[in-house]
Symmetry: C3
Subunit: 159 residues, 3 copies
C-alpha cells in the first residue's frame, strides 16, 4: 500500500491574506488526498479564535495581548495595503464578486476535510490564549509534534 | 536515469528584498540542474507586472488595486527599512557597488535558465490583474498545479 | 546505517518573534537528532550581530545600514504589535513569567547542540556587515552551500 503524501504548514502570520494562502494550499492538498496539518503559532493563533469575547481569567499582560489581537479569522488585517482596515474590506468585496471563499469558510472546509488544525501550546501561554477562546475540535501540541509531522512531509511551508 | 531534483517556491511577498531572495535561490537551484518553479501569488504577482501602463478594461475595485500596487519588480519596496522608497534606492546603490544583480535582471536570468514562472490565476482575478499586464512567456495555473510540482520537490519554500 | 534526518532553515527575517520560531524549531530538530542548519540572510543576519559596537572600516552606505539595523538578537523588534519597542518588552516579560528562553539563550543553545549557523556572505556584503561584527563559531557561505544542505533535507523552511 502506498503511503499517503503529507503537507505540513506552520501558520505563524496573523495576516488575513497569508492565512488565506495557507488554507487554500491546505484545502487543495487535502482534496488531493494528502494528510494535512496546519500548526498555528504566534499570531497565526488568532485565526483560531472565536469571535465572541469569552470570559476567562487572565493576568494583566495576557489581557492586554488578548485585547489587542483580532478575535478570529474575519477580523485579521492584510500584510500589505491594510489602510487601517479598509484593505480587508476591499479584498472581501472582490472575493465575494469572484465567488472566492472568505477565510472563515476556508477554515470550516479544512475541518470538514479532516485537515488537522493544531494550536501551539507554548505560544498560547505567551499570548495568554486559553482553550475556551479557540475553536472546537482543534488539537494542542508543541514543537515535537510539529516535527513528527513535518519530517516525513512532502510539502513543508512556513507562512 | 536519476531523476532531476526539484525546487518549488511560492512567492507571496511583494517586497523587493524577499523577491530577490526567491530569485537568487531559484537561479542557484537552476544552475545546479534542479527543475525550478516560482509560483507567484497575491503581492508576488507584482514582480511579473510590466513597467508600462497597459490599458485594459477593469472594474472600479480592480482599478484601485492595480493603481496602488507597484508595476513590476523595479518598483517594489523593502520588507524592512523602506523609508518611503529611500531604502530600495540605498540597497540598489550598494548592489550596484558590489556587482549584485538587480531584481529585473534576476528575473530575466531565471527565464533564460528555464525556471518556470507561474502566475496564480485565482489571485490575478482577486487583484484584477490581466495577462496583458504581465511579462511574456509565463504560465498560468492554480493551486492544483502548484501542489503537483511541490509534492515531489526537494526544496519547497513559501516566501 | 540509517541516514540522519535534516532540517534547513533560511532565516531572512529580522524580527524577534520570527527568529524565535526559527530557533525553537531548530533546537527541537537538533534534540530529535536532525542535522540542522540555519542560513542567515538579509535582516536575519542581525540575529548574529554582537551587541558591542565593533569598530570596523566601512563605506558611507554600509555605515548607515549598520547604524540603523539592530545589533544582536536582543535588540530586534516584533513582526506585529512592535509599538516602537514596547511590544518586545511585553513579550520578554511574559516569556520570563512562563520560563520561556529569550532569543539570545536560544541561539546559545543551538550552538551547544551543534546547529550549524551560517551567515550569507553575499548579503553581508550588501548590508556592509563584517565577520568581526558577528558571533564567533559561525560559518560563512553562499546560496550553493545552502542548496547543498537543503536538497537532501526533510524539513526546509523560509522564515
Amino acid at each position: 500500500m502506498e503511503q499517503k503524501k503529507r503537507t505540513t504548514i506552520v501558520l505563524f502570520s496573523g495576516d488575513y491574506d497569508k492565512a488565506m494562502a495557507a488554507y487554500i494550499i491546505a484545502n487543495g492538498a487535502a482534496a488531493y488526498d494528502h494528510e494535512v496539518t496546519i500548526f498555528h503559532t504566534f499570531w497565526g493563533l488568532n485565526a483560531l479564535r472565536k469571535e465572541a469575547n469569552i470570559p476567562v481569567k487572565k493576568g494583566f499582560l495576557e489581557k492586554m495581548f488578548g485585547g489587542m489581537m483580532p478575535r478570529g479569522a474575519d477580523k485579521m488585517g492584510l500584510s500589505k495595503m491594510n489602510f487601517g482596515g479598509f484593505g480587508p474590506k476591499m479584498i472581501k468585496k472582490v472575493m465575494k464578486k469572484h465567488n472566492a471563499m472568505p477565510l472563515p469558510d476556508l477554515i470550516e472546509l479544512a475541518q470538514e476535510q479532516d485537515v488537522k488544525l493544531v494550536a501551539c501550546t507554548m505560544t498560547m501561554d505567551l499570548l495568554g490564549l486559553q482553550k475556551e477562546e479557540l475553536l472546537e475540535e482543534i488539537e494542542y501540541a508543541g514543537v515535537a509534534a510539529y516535527l513528527g509531522d513535518a519530517e516525513d512531509g512532502n510539502v513543508n511551508l512556513f507562512i
